[in-house]
């Protein structure tokens, strides 16, 4: 998705979606479905499923063929994501690899890095995590203190990262560290591809509000990183990361609005499986309408961004608009879905049991959505400063 200049091949609307849908219907097992309360696929099964998705053309769609991708355009990417969203497929294990590390490597990496690292992301040989945030540098990311010190044997890294999603199952960390002092702020920041098996890395899982153990703390104690694992020149990596972040904010998990739509469909269907619950649902028709309207609006944001990228336009600060929109709309929806599915105390059958479990998790997990990937407050700051250009002094 980083390459707007990619040549558009002949494109037949709808054909790619049909192909994707057919594959999902055949390969999404009950154990993998996220709308089943009782069955949970193992990490190994999810990884295998994700690798198979790549082979089937659902992943790596816009990446160049020489780096393991399918060499197609954003339109195909959007079509496949629509089908991914409408199905109860699990979220990607390696979304940091595919949607953040990959595009950054493609922008600033050396050719040998691209040839080595990129195909392994798509084949699920390397899962990536993102070592950006620190205990003292969350929203204010450039306050980060993790140091990379140049030595005769390469770079010696010391510091601590936090909120590193999936670090405990990752093979690589996209590390942002500084080569100077913390006062340098934007200067002297360096990006590295750090193998997670390197001596001196200690990962501790953080249990989050929904009981998940996805977020981690990562400690770097005298971790030696080879010179060749630098991504881009000093400062260049960070500049590229900022650009990529703005695109990613707008386009990552492109299936999101369709997943949101399928959650509404799931709730309605589950409530329709039991007359008593259906009566309860009828009292929420206005909220259901508002949720669906939000889904359509979100599709509007996503489709506009895709059209703009295809026209070679920059997304820049506008990436904040869909992030702000989806996170708040999804929270409102999640709260309502939880409320509906938990109002009936009796056993309503398996469909309701499944829905209740799913929406309780979604409700709790959604509390993080207005915090991660740039808090609501940060998005509002970006809009006021960089879109509205509001002045702070006379």
């Amino acid at each position: 998705m980083t390459t707007q200049e990619r040549i558009e091949r002949s494109y037949e609307p709808g054909a790619y979606a049909a192909q994707a849908r057919g594959w999902i219907e055949t390969n999404l097992t009950d154990a993998l479905r996220t709308d089943r309360a009782t069955q949970e696929a193992s990490l190994a099964e999810k990884i295998a499923f994700e690798a198979a998705q790549h082979e089937a053309g659902l992943v790596g769609i816009t990446w160049p063929v020489e780096y393991g991708g399918h060499g197609l355009g954003l339109r195909e990417h959007l079509e496949a994501n629509r089908e991914i969203g409408l199905s109860p497929m699990p979220n990607a294990v390696n979304s940091i690899g595919k949607e953040l590390a990959g595009p950054i490597i493609m922008t600033v990496g050396r050719d040998d890095q691209k040839r080595d690292l990129l195909p392994k992301i798509l084949k699920m040989e390397n899962i990536w995590c993102q070592g950006f945030s620190e205990p003292g540098a969350g929203s204010d990311l450039v306050a980060l203190r993790t140091r990379a010190e140049k030595t005769a044997d390469g770079w010696k890294v010391n510091g601590q990262k936090i909120w590193t999603s999936g670090a405990s199952k990752s093979q690589y960390c996209l590390l942002l560290a500084r080569t100077g002092s913390a006062d340098d702020r934007h200067k002297g920041l360096m990006l590295f591809a750090v193998p997670m098996e390197s001596p001196g890395i200690d990962v501790r899982e953080i249990v989050s509000i929904d009981g998940a153990r996805s977020f981690c703390e990562v400690f770097f104690n005298n971790v030696m990183v080879a010179e060749e694992n630098m991504l881009g020149a000093p400062d260049e990596g960070w500049a590229a990361a900022s650009r990529v972040l703005s695109i990613e904010r707008a386009t990552n998990r492109m299936y999101r609005s369709w997943r949101f739509e399928s959650e509404i469909d799931h709730l309605v269907a589950a409530c329709r499986s039991d007359n008593r619950t259906y009566q309860i649902l009828k009292g929420y028709s206005a909220e259901i309408a508002q949720a669906r309207i939000a889904v359509e609006n979100l599709k509007g944001h996503v489709e506009t961004m895709v059209a703009d990228l295809l026209n070679g336009q920059q997304i820049g600060p506008r990436g904040s608009l869909p992030k702000l929109y989806w996170s708040e709309a999804h929270q409102r929806w999640a709260q309502m879905a939880y409320e509906v599915t938990t109002r009936f105390p009796l056993d309503g059958g398996q469909a309701l049991t499944d829905a209740r479990a799913r929406f309780e998790t979604i409700y709790l997990a959604s509390r993080a959505e207005t915090i991660y990937a740039g808090t609501t407050e940060i998005q509002l700051d970006i809009i006021s400063k960089r879109i509205l250009n509001l002045k702070k002094a006379a």
Partner: protein, 333 residues
């Protein structure tokens, strides 16, 4: 379809015409709009229109909302488009501004009274809906008498019509009315977007000019974030409108139009109310035009049936389950 023209090019023209209209007396506005070709932008060339898709009407109607145009432009555009296949001469008269028209958006002929007709007191003809989904473009006169009711909008005051006799006029088929109402959701959204963007622009300007406690209002995070949310609202309108005008594979244009209008209607009102708050004491004066925007947007929301359409959408969504992944569990009720 490929056109050499870009809808955006109509924006500047439309704005200039709206400014001229603001200084003209109401009867002259039809002529000014017609001369610039704006009423017939999206009407077929056979009746004197420009034959462009609805996309091109969007910036024109948005400029009308922004410029507080005192003329039922959206209604004239819709009627001209609908009339083309039933009465070409009358359609042409609408496009040239010779005949002025409005639409009674609320009620059906069978009720004996219809309402929410912008400028119903001063135009020549009115479209009246029937219970079977068809409509009639009728001449206003003794048996179709306009009455000024309570009207919040002061730009195009609403009237209602008491129907005391036979309803004669040009018949519009059920299909034509369906298209007209679908297109109305797009144009109404455009109108509200223009109005809301103007409110936001005024608030952004005021927040940076007005100084309190030694700094502009815009230095305060609470104001900055409020305006950022309003910006999100107007950008959401823009993107939803683009979506409402595009066929995408697997997409549902009707739902896209409905969602666009329902979201835009509510958000537009909220942006105007927010701008009034930013203006402080000046915000609730007659002099500052924000109340005029609020009035016209509230009126649009009512005429466009936001409450009932939202309710109907909700009922439709819970009344069926169409996602194939969930079909098997949804067949109990």
């Amino acid at each position: 379809m490929d056109f050499d023209l870009d809808p955006k090019e109509f924006e500047d023209t439309a704005r200039a015409v709206m400014e001229a209209c603001a200084e003209a007396a109401p009867p002259a506005r039809a002529r000014l709009l017609a001369e610039a070709g704006l009423i017939g932008v999206a009407a077929p060339e056979t009746i004197g229109g420009l034959g462009l898709p609805l996309d091109f009407a969007v910036p024109v109607v948005a400029a009308a909302g922004e410029g507080l145009l005192g003329f039922p432009l959206m209604e004239a555009m819709l009627v001209a488009r609908a009339l083309a296949e039933f009465d070409a001469a009358e359609a042409e008269a609408v496009i040239t501004g010779e005949t002025t028209v409005t639409i009674a958006w609320q009620g059906v002929a069978e009720d004996g009274v219809v309402g929410a007709a912008p400028m119903g007191e001063t135009v020549d003809r009115v479209v009246i809906f029937r219970a079977d989904g068809s409509a009639v473009l009728a001449r206003i006169g003794a048996t179709i008498a306009p009455r000024r009711g309570a009207t919040l909008d002061i730009e195009t005051p609403e009237a209602r019509f008491v129907l005391t006799g036979q309803l004669d006029g040009i018949e519009l088929s059920v299909d034509a009315v369906e298209t007209l109402c679908s297109d109305a959701m797009v144009l109404r959204s455009a109108f509200v977007r223009g109005s809301a963007e103007k409110c936001l622009a005024l608030a952004v300007e005021y927040a940076q000019d007005r100084s309190q406690f030694g700094k502009p209002l815009s230095a305060n995070q609470v104001i900055r974030h409020r305006l950022s949310r309003d910006k999100l609202a107007t950008e959401t309108m823009r993107n939803a409108l683009a979506r409402a005008l595009t066929e995408v594979p697997g997409g549902d244009v009707h739902l896209a139009r409905e969602a666009c209008w329902l979201a835009t209607a509510r958000a537009g009102i909220a942006v105007a109310e927010s701008a009034i708050q930013v203006f402080g004491g000046m915000g609730f004066t007659w002099e500052v035009p924000l109340h005029r925007h609020l009035r016209q947007m509230r009126t649009q929301a009512q005429a466009g049936g936001v409450a009932e359409k939202t309710e109907a959408l909700g009922q439709r969504l819970i009344g069926a389950s169409t996602n194939a992944w969930y079909g098997e569990i949804a067949n109990v009720v």
